[in-house]
Symmetry: C2
Subunit: 346 residues, 2 copies
């Protein structure tokens, strides 16, 4: 049997903010069979993750990322791997059988031929939506959890600021921090997002950064006594303003810097005098280094989902063909919560 | 009995690079007596420390420093406290007696009236020069030791880069790191300093940053496989270049940023994509928070001094009147090693 596999690729490396026209939908015939000793697995993709960091892979080669597997550069014309959920169609790997639900590195397409050694594992959905595996129970969740607890090591009562707080990671950081006993303020880019944070997700406060002209003064208003923890998803001026408003022994977890992704000249230049005198720690991290907290993260998050204490905020589009607009929208702030594309119904 | 106490002060707050004319030598009569219940101690100053960070106290008010005692702003016309060694002349404090040798927060002058609560303690010179208390066995030494071992947590064989490497702290960081088993390269601002690092202090390599036009390329040349630890004494472009050349899990200890002290507009803007993907930690610190390693530091350093494994590099001027030129010279890179002014012979 043979299917037509439609997949998304880039026409050329992307420079600056991505446009839908940078992408194209290609297709190719895919025979649904694998030789038994190849260890190949063909997966029908169900849900794929749409993440800002992918943009860095679509640019020309960046040496800083070359050492990281999932951040390796993408070649124009070829398929783009992405975290997601699928169902095994054919398996040449004894670890997988037809119809196994799997999560791992699949692709922005209808099907993925997963090579041995690539991250892929079976999972039990535990009665929860399959899409949760891509967001709250996947790397978005682990990133929020590990960044907050492993990197920032919060104490109850500490003041936490989260930027891009309605984004896939930010909304969870705020919810985790709040449930842990911190005071949490988030920034986001629209009234609707601010309302979500304050009214649905339990943030103590939130503001629309687009309505602010002096971020240092803004943060001084929301944190008159200073910030203990800044979970940075945006970089640039927001990081500078947060550092300026930090308390002694403040911690900045740098998860991503979306405002810098589309503008190579944009940088955060925090005042190092603040960094020294206030003994501030600015630390970059990747969730994959924190598998030590994975079981803890999964158990707590599943528990909190079942009691309704934590909420999964998802923004789901349908169909392979919607991937370019879903991705491009990330950089316009279109998404609320985790951006996911549903490739096929289970 | 009464003496004339000569002391250094500033005429006005300093903006930009300090000049000798920003300072003046004043004098005042000082009666050498204290009432018994005041807990005041009059100290004859012997050696005082001349440190770049003092410039930040001589500027207009900086909020980031206001919380730190020894970094509090200095009022024009008034005396300037500084770390140093002296001898008790009169004591109204039962903890001190006449002729006790003391180390602590004294002043840029002939005498200091030390108030209760101010850092001051007796010490035994253990046969070593008194000036060592101000440098290698004082905060310079503890800063180097704590910054390297407590903040950067080196492993044997790791690659360490130190800027301002012939300075008071930098030279010790390099010596400690080398003795610990790291590969150490330092940057400094003259041929003479570079020779000292390579020929006398055991650095594996060193370069004159003034002869380099592209610091990123320079560091790539000295660290073709990347930097594990950067001990930052200068900030700005050097920090950016170091971050660009770091390995995964690299650590930057920000001890001071001398290149930024004289230019408020100068900033380090390290690439946050490097910080994230290479999981870099950039951490400011102050030695005073690391008293937990003090005994260990003191014992190891005294042992290494006695075996000749480590060397105290001092740059000593004489007389209160030499303080302004000694201080101003720090920002021109005049000093080699720890800058100290000898106020009086013991």
């Amino acid at each position: 049997m043979e299917v037509i596999n439609r997949y998304i690729t880039i026409k050329a490396h992307i420079d600056g903010a991505p446009k839908e026209s940078d992408f194209e939908l290609k297709d190719a015939a895919l025979p649904l069979r694998v030789d038994p000793d190849t260890n190949l697995v063909i997966v029908k993709n169900l849900y794929v993750s749409i993440d800002p960091y992918q943009l860095n892979r679509l640019k020309s080669f960046s040496s800083s990322q070359s050492a990281i597997n999932f951040a390796a550069g993408v070649t124009p014309g070829e398929g783009i791997d992405a975290y997601g959920v699928g169902k095994v169609v054919v398996s040449g790997n004894p670890e997988f059988e037809k119809d196994d639900l799997v999560v791992g590195l699949i692709s922005w397409g209808d099907y993925t031929v997963v090579k041995p050694g690539v991250l892929l594992r079976k999972f039990d959905p535990l009665g929860l939506p399959l899409s949760y595996q891509v967001g709250i129970l996947g790397f978005s969740g682990l990133t929020a959890y590990a960044g907050l607890f492993d990197i920032c090591k919060p104490k109850k009562g500490e003041k936490v600021f989260v930027s891009a707080a309605s984004g896939s990671v930010g909304n969870l950081v705020g919810q985790y921090a709040k449930l842990f006993g911190c005071y949490v303020v988030g920034s986001a880019g629209s009234k609707e997002k601010v309302a979500l944070l304050k009214e649905k997700l339990g943030f103590d406060d939130a503001f629309n950064y687009k309505e602010e002209t002096d971020l240092k003064a803004t943060l001084k208003r929301y944190f008159p006594d200073g910030i203990d923890i800044y979970f940075d998803n945006v970089g640039a001026e927001m990081q500078e303003a947060a550092v300026a408003n930090m308390k002694a022994f403040g911690r900045v977890a740098v998860c991503g810097v979306i405002s810098e992704y589309t503008d190579a000249g944009k940088r955060a230049a925090p005042d190092m005098l603040d960094v020294v005198y206030k003994r501030i720690k600015i630390q970059g991290f990747l969730a994959a280094d924190h598998m030590n907290v994975y079981q803890d993260f999964l158990k707590k998050t599943c528990d909190q989902l079942s009691t309704g204490e934590i909420q999964a905020v998802e923004d789901i589009s349908d169909g392979v063909e919607s991937i370019p607009s879903a991705f491009v929208g990330l950089f316009r702030g279109d998404n609320i919560g985790k951006k996911i594309v549903r490739i096929a119904q289970d």
